[in-house]
């Protein structure tokens, strides 16, 4: 097996340098520009030729623009009910979404029939509005709408005010959703009928592109009113309900935040969904893994609270810590690991455990330590990949794979050299104990002091 590289290259699934034909290159460009919202309305309205390749997802959606899809579940999201259970598609009033299928020639007729002229700038006004919605920028949102703006939903003719919209916008930003105006047609001289896509880590858990049909009235370059008339979100409510139920088994507080619907989702709800929706997807709702996650969450919380007593109870007797750069001689002991809450506190750091992914009986997580030292050394939080083995409600092993060790090593050495010119004794202490787990309160304090100074001095 002398030439592994050659074997890998020969197994390249796409050896050709130009796998896309010229037609396909142009088609993907058109698709991209259409989704960017930058093509003008006439361009967007050009019917898709029947012999063009049909792709899943976006192109199908693009080809069916103008088709109004009704779903009462959407309206529920927009409905200010006071009931506790909320999600759009989870109540008896919900009408299951059925994807309207329209023959392609019908679409063509619909979309090419004598479209009214839309005043210049209308599309830009709509794009400003949706960009502000997904950015969470309340000021920009308010600036993008007219003085008597209202947002209406289909069922019940409800109209929502700017405060509601601002709250929803905060949720979208917190859950990292982006809204893309996909296609717009002119409904009349001042109204655009637009299809939009909501994309992001949370939406991806719904399993389908979340598409909304919204009518926008634009007056004097501002959105005067908006009316949501439908959405392709068949599983939305059910999925949210499942996620909430799953999260409740190990983090009831966050689950409760998710139930802040149906008034209007806010930033806390968005953040909770962002935290757990992708995780639920990775774990496929595994109940046993949820228990392990609960242990990891408790571990994170105790570490950040400086609660050593609780923290220690989560470490199994005989617990081991292994690191990818360790030899057995310098592996970390359970007692050393038990100092983690104090170490974090001494360094003004916060532990953040994200992106957990099951790997057999273990759980891989991205573990960040945010704080001034990491910021100074990396311009980024310190980050490891840690594998937690949880047995009977306790952590039996943590395996640490350092993701930024090389950078840490280089910059750490530079900092120590620099400190040596200022305070040789301090540099000596830092040099002995600069690896996080091996530190002491004294070295922690020195690192906190000098890493920040080094950064402020322009990283000499």
């Amino acid at each position: 097996m002398s030439n592994v590289s050659e074997l890998i290259r020969s197994a390249n699934p796409v050896p050709e340098t130009n796998p896309l034909s010229d037609d396909e290159v142009n088609a993907v460009l058109t698709l991209t520009l259409t989704r960017s919202g930058d093509m003008d309305v006439k361009e967007i309205m050009t019917p898709i030729e029947p012999d063009k390749p049909k792709w899943s997802g976006w192109l199908v959606a693009a080809a069916s623009f103008g088709v109004v899809v009704l779903v009462a579940g959407l309206a529920l999201l927009l409905t200010r009910s006071t009931t506790e259970e909320l999600p759009p598609a989870s109540t008896p009033t919900t009408v299951a979404f059925s994807e309207t299928t329209v023959a392609e020639d019908e679409v063509t007729q619909t979309t090419t029939a004598a479209a009214p002229t839309v005043p210049a700038g209308s599309l830009a006004a709509v794009q400003n509005f949706v960009a502000a919605m997904s950015s969470g920028d309340e000021e920009a949102l308010r600036a993008s709408v007219g003085p008597s703006f209202g947002y209406s939903g289909l069922v019940g003719d409800m109209v929502f005010n700017m405060d509601d919209l601002a709250s929803w916008s905060g949720a979208l930003a917190a859950q990292q959703s982006t809204i893309t105006v996909d296609t717009c047609t002119a409904a009349d001289e001042s109204t655009l009928s637009c299809n939009e896509f909501h994309n992001g880590p949370v939406e991806s858990t719904y399993g389908v592109p979340v598409q909304w049909s919204v009518h926008y009235e634009v007056i004097d370059g501002l959105v005067a009113s908006a009316s949501a008339v439908g959405c392709t979100c068949p599983q939305w409510g059910d999925v949210q309900k499942e996620i909430r139920a799953w999260v409740r088994t190990f983090d009831p507080e966050q689950a409760e935040l998710m139930t802040s619907y149906p008034v209007f989702p806010d930033a806390a709800a968005g953040a909770a969904l962002l935290k757990y929706a992708p995780m639920w997807e990775s774990f496929e709702g595994d109940a046993e893994a949820a228990v392990a996650l609960g242990v990891i969450r408790a571990y994170e919380a105790a570490a950040n609270a400086g609660d050593v007593d609780t923290f220690v109870t989560l470490l199994a007797p005989g617990m081991t810590v292994s690191r990818d750069f360790d030899t057995n001689a310098n592996a970390v002991s359970r007692d050393q690991w038990a100092q983690l809450p104090d170490r974090l506190s001494a360094r003004d750091s916060v532990l953040r455990i994200e992106g957990c992914d099951p790997k057999g009986i273990d759980i891989d997580c991205d573990v960040y330590r945010t704080g001034p030292i990491g910021s100074a050394i990396f311009f980024l939080p310190m980050r490891d990949t840690q594998t937690f083995s949880v047995v009977d409600g306790q952590i039996l092993n943590v395996h640490v794979v350092c993701q930024l060790c090389e950078v840490q090593g280089q910059n750490g050495s530079t900092i120590i050299s620099w400190v040596r010119t200022l305070d040789a004794d301090a540099a000596q202490v830092m040099n002995q104990t600069w690896i996080f787990e091996d530190g002491t309160p004294e070295s922690d304090a020195l690192w906190l002091k000098y890493a920040v100074l080094w950064n402020e001095a322009g990283r000499p």
Partner: protein, 184 residues
């Protein structure tokens, strides 16, 4: 976006679309790869003013493509539509009967061995061997040092060599059936 920027965007697109598409296709199916490619360039459109426009553009696009592929992969996994990554990669690109059965089996063994590597190591190896990036470029893309890349490649090669050696030993003792791709 100004007309000038539009022209620049189109030039950027045409310069790199084949590489981005190939990257996505190596990690998914042909049809999904088109959607993913569009996703990548949509991000480029939105961040056109911020993204690098020199030789760093391609690496920036690859970085975006990594995230796009990752997100698609998660959705796909949840729906259980596809089996393990290696199987999907191998199956996605089979165009018809493969005359060189031995070679095909070898490719599948390599893909399966790759799939067993840690995610980051697999990404490094394929960026170097399939996308043809220099190790220094991969280091910058993944926020790792060049020496870390070197070490990871060395370690991954060692694992692959062991895995492939075991596979080839199996192949010597296990007859290949027609169903498995052997010739009748």
């Amino acid at each position: 976006m100004s007309r000038e920027n539009q022209a620049q965007f189109e030039a950027l697109y045409r310069a790199h679309v084949q590489q981005v598409y190939a990257y996505c296709m190596r990690r998914s199916s042909r049809e999904e790869a088109k959607d993913m490619t569009s996703d990548v360039f949509l991000q480029a459109w939105r961040r056109f003013d911020d993204m690098p426009h020199d030789e760093g553009a391609l690496f920036w696009l690859y970085s975006v493509a990594r995230n796009v592929v990752y997100n698609h992969d998660r959705s796909r996994r949840r729906r259980k539509r596809l089996n393990a990554k290696a199987a999907s990669m191998a199956e996605s690109h089979v165009q018809g009967p493969e005359p060189q059965v031995v070679r095909k089996a070898e490719h599948e063994a390599v893909l399966q061995a790759l799939a067993k590597l840690p995610k980051t190591d697999r990404e490094i190896i394929t960026l170097v061997e399939w996308e043809g990036l220099q190790r220094q470029q991969v280091a910058e893309m993944l926020f790792l040092s060049k020496s870390a890349i070197d070490k990871r490649i060395k370690r991954a090669h060692r694992k692959l060599a062991v895995a492939l050696d075991a596979t080839s030993q199996d192949a010597l003792t296990t007859p290949v059936t027609a169903e498995e791709g052997g010739m009748e």
